[in-house]
């Protein structure tokens, strides 16, 4: 398939692996931010082809994984209401709350529907004027513009039965939180290419500068990851820090200006709890006051729902790069994709699911 095969070429991959091997002289810990990158690493077996000096740790860039329990519980409470059609991306359906997930609610009679785009949820609202239609707006800067567009469109159409449960999170504050923690192990970052396609990478310069950490904006195909890893290792070995862009075919310094404009028009930045990590200042998007009639938290009065997290799950430590999924006592035992204790075991982008599915046991 064109534009895919080119980035999965075995000979090129070997060339990059050789370049990495001949560059590395000492151990380095590198974090790939995005769960999509984690899966490519594991799915193609790249992690095992890299020299032993390079330790990959898996970042918080899996929207399903970092969506806090309180948001899941709010979603479940709303989805249980008989007057509601609850719409969500497929990934969120199996994420466990305290005692249920969205698929359970559906099985119990809730009207829970999977959509592929928030604009589909707007269409559901148009087609069902006597029902309340709620869209679970999760994701990073990547999905936020489409969700902002859905709210704008609902407003334009005069829909008063559409709202979103906004659980958006932002990458740069999470990177700062990881680097700023006393127990941080991350020495270099592969930044999430698709987030940067929207936001550009002008936000990362100050972070690289402040923490003396190389950050390489990286794509998602095997060769992207190998090249990004090579660029990061080279910078580390040469003692350089700063921001470089591997993913030039999709990312510019400035990013997508109309999308950023839309985001700032619809959303405002707020403190947000991350599942397993805790609250990170100014790391989430909520709707601006002029769009508050589309805010499901207010509409259904679910703000008070704020349950405590599961104590066994070490998702937070995994997403901060302190531990690997198979360091967890529950991994593959109490916690499996059939009975997940934490979200990283559920999502297609979750690090635990990747380890489990692709057999990184023990």
């Amino acid at each position: 398939m064109k534009y895919v095969d080119e980035y999965r070429d075995e000979a090129e991959a070997q060339r990059y692996l050789e370049a990495i091997r001949s560059t590395v002289t000492r151990p380095w810990t590198i974090m790939e931010i995005c769960g999509g990158q984690t899966h490519t690493f594991i799915k193609f077996g790249i992690d095992e082809l890299l020299p032993d000096e390079i330790e990959l740790v898996h970042g918080p860039g899996c929207p399903v994984c970092v969506t806090p329990l309180e948001m899941i519980e709010r979603a479940l409470a709303i989805a249980r209401r008989p007057d509601v059609i609850f719409t969500s991306f497929g990934d969120m359906m199996r994420v466990p709350g305290s005692d249920a997930d969205l698929l359970t609610i559906k099985a119990q009679g809730g009207d829970v529907r999977m959509v592929y785009s928030p604009l589909d949820a707007v269409r559901v609202a148009q087609a069902n004027p006597d029902r309340e239609v709620v869209f679970f707006a999760v994701g990073f800067e990547t999905t936020a513009p489409a969700n902002a567009m859905a709210v704008k469109q609902a407003q334009m159409l005069g829909l008063d039965n559409f709202s979103i449960l906004s659980s958006h999170v932002l990458v740069p504050p999470a990177m700062e939180a990881i680097l700023g923690a006393g127990d941080n192990r991350v020495q270099g970052f592969l930044a999430a290419g698709h987030v940067c396609a929207v936001m550009g990478y002008w936000e990362y310069g100050p972070i690289a500068e402040k923490y003396h950490t190389p950050i390489v904006v990286t794509g998602f195909e095997p060769l992207d990851l190998l090249q990004g890893t090579y660029m990061t290792v080279k910078a580390l070995e040469e003692g350089r820090y700063g921001v470089e862009n591997q993913y030039t075919r999709a990312v510019t310094l400035e990013g997508n200006a109309p999308a950023q404009q839309l985001l700032s028009e619809v959303f405002t930045t707020v403190d947000r709890p991350w599942r397993g990590i805790g609250t990170i200042p100014m790391s989430g998007y909520n709707l601006r006051p002029q769009f508050e009639s589309f805010d499901a938290v207010q509409k259904f009065d679910v703000e008070a729902i704020a349950p405590p997290e599961n104590e066994i799950c070490i998702a937070g430590e995994i997403m901060r790069g302190l531990k690997k999924p198979n360091d967890c006592a529950a991994f593959g035992e109490e916690c499996t994709p059939e009975h997940p204790l934490g979200a990283p075991m559920v999502s297609t982008e979750g690090a635990c699911a990747a380890y489990f599915q692709y057999g990184r046991v023990g």
Partner: protein, 356 residues
């Protein structure tokens, strides 16, 4: 058996039930009274007519020679009922006939049980029944007996169909996973994941434009050709339906206690299927097929079986995709296109489209 003949669903003509009187299926059509009789005698009996069915007894009496009989049953609940490349009727025949064929048997007869939701358009029922007839003819099986129930509106999804298939296993044929041995070659009969992605492309809420069709087909003829070429050296046949290639190979590896190693680059796939999987975040190894089979045969006969498969219309893209190894017992390993290895595990639950 002539499973090369094209399906002629429309060849059966117009619906025999007077649509003006009964545009939709009513509860009484399954109630055992006169409307039931009308449906059976007007639609089912003349359409499926054969010596086993014609007496319209409580059951069919089938005379067979002594030997081994393969039996398989499957229920079909697919949504939407009509999809590119088939419908629930043809699928209900192919699915069961293929399961019988994967036992090494020649499918001879099926039973058809239908649970119809009240209100199903009579025209839709006729389309489905016509499609069952065409698929059964193509597969060379007779509908030996059947049953119809109608449930209240809202208690079904249009129609559910259960079929049970029968067939005799020829002497000298022994198909079961325990027979695989180190060095055996794993062959797939064509491109994978076509059915699942074709269904996904027309499912409500996920529609995307593609010319892709389900690969739903009867594989009896292909199996016969494989057995003619490989005989006793054919160790396993499996149609990788739900759970896809990954689940089917895992089941075989587990049952046999040996390892299976697959080569990603060898696995045939259509570009548009691959593209849809990339977009949806699906792994094609786990996506359903309805007209493909996996054959595991000794290396001695692998080339001959492969050549035979390729000369059959349902095996034109057949490829050797891996082999049985004396390593990682009970598991399937895949060498990725860039040379890394990973375990291919069983699918947990359903694959769900991703966020980004």
């Amino acid at each position: 058996m002539s499973d090369d003949t094209p399906l002629d669903v429309d060849g059966l003509g117009a619906c025999p039930i007077p649509i003006s009187d009964y545009p939709n299926v009513l509860l009484a059509h399954g109630g055992g009274g006169s409307l039931s009789q009308m449906l059976i005698e007007g639609m089912f009996a003349p359409t499926f007519a054969n010596d086993w069915l014609n007496p319209l007894h409580d059951g069919a009496v089938i005379e067979i020679d002594a030997g081994r009989m393969a039996v398989s049953t499957d229920s079909f609940v697919i949504s939407p009922m009509f999809f590119p490349g088939g419908d629930i009727g043809s699928l209900a025949v192919h699915g069961t006939v293929n399961d019988v064929a994967m036992c090494g048997a020649r499918p001879m007869a099926i039973t058809v049980g239908m649970v119809i939701e009240e209100g199903l358009p009579m025209e839709d029922l006729w389309r489905i029944v016509s499609s069952i007839k065409a698929a059964a003819d193509e597969a060379g099986v007779a509908v030996a007996t059947g049953d119809t129930k109608v449930v209240d509106r809202g208690k079904g999804d249009g129609i559910f169909i259960n079929t049970t298939g029968f067939g005799m296993v020829p002497d000298g044929i022994d198909i079961r996973p325990e027979r695989i041995a180190v060095g055996d070659q794993v062959i797939v009969s064509g491109t994978i994941a076509d059915h699942g992605i074709a269904i996904m492309s027309v499912r409500e809420g996920l529609e995307f434009e593609t010319a892709l069709e389900s690969d739903s087909a009867s594989l009896g003829g292909l199996v016969e050709a494989i057995l003619a070429a490989g005989g006793h050296d054919v160790h396993v046949l499996r149609d990788p339906t739900r759970g896809g290639l990954a689940s089917a190979t895992n089941e075989i590896a587990k049952a046999a206690g040996l390892g299976i190693r697959l080569r990603e680059t060898a696995i045939p796939m259509q570009d548009q299927v691959l593209a849809a999987c990339e977009i949806l975040g699906f792994d094609p190894l786990y996506v359903a097929n309805e007209g493909k089979l996996i054959g595991i045969v000794t290396s001695e006969v692998a080339d001959e079986v492969l050549a035979t498969m390729r000369s059959h219309p349902h095996g034109a893209d057949a490829t050797i995709i891996g082999e049985v190894v004396d390593d990682h017992h009970g598991r399937v390993l895949l060498t990725s296109r860039i040379g890394g290895n990973r375990v291919v595990d069983m699918l947990s639950g359903e694959q769900l489209p991703r966020i980004c």
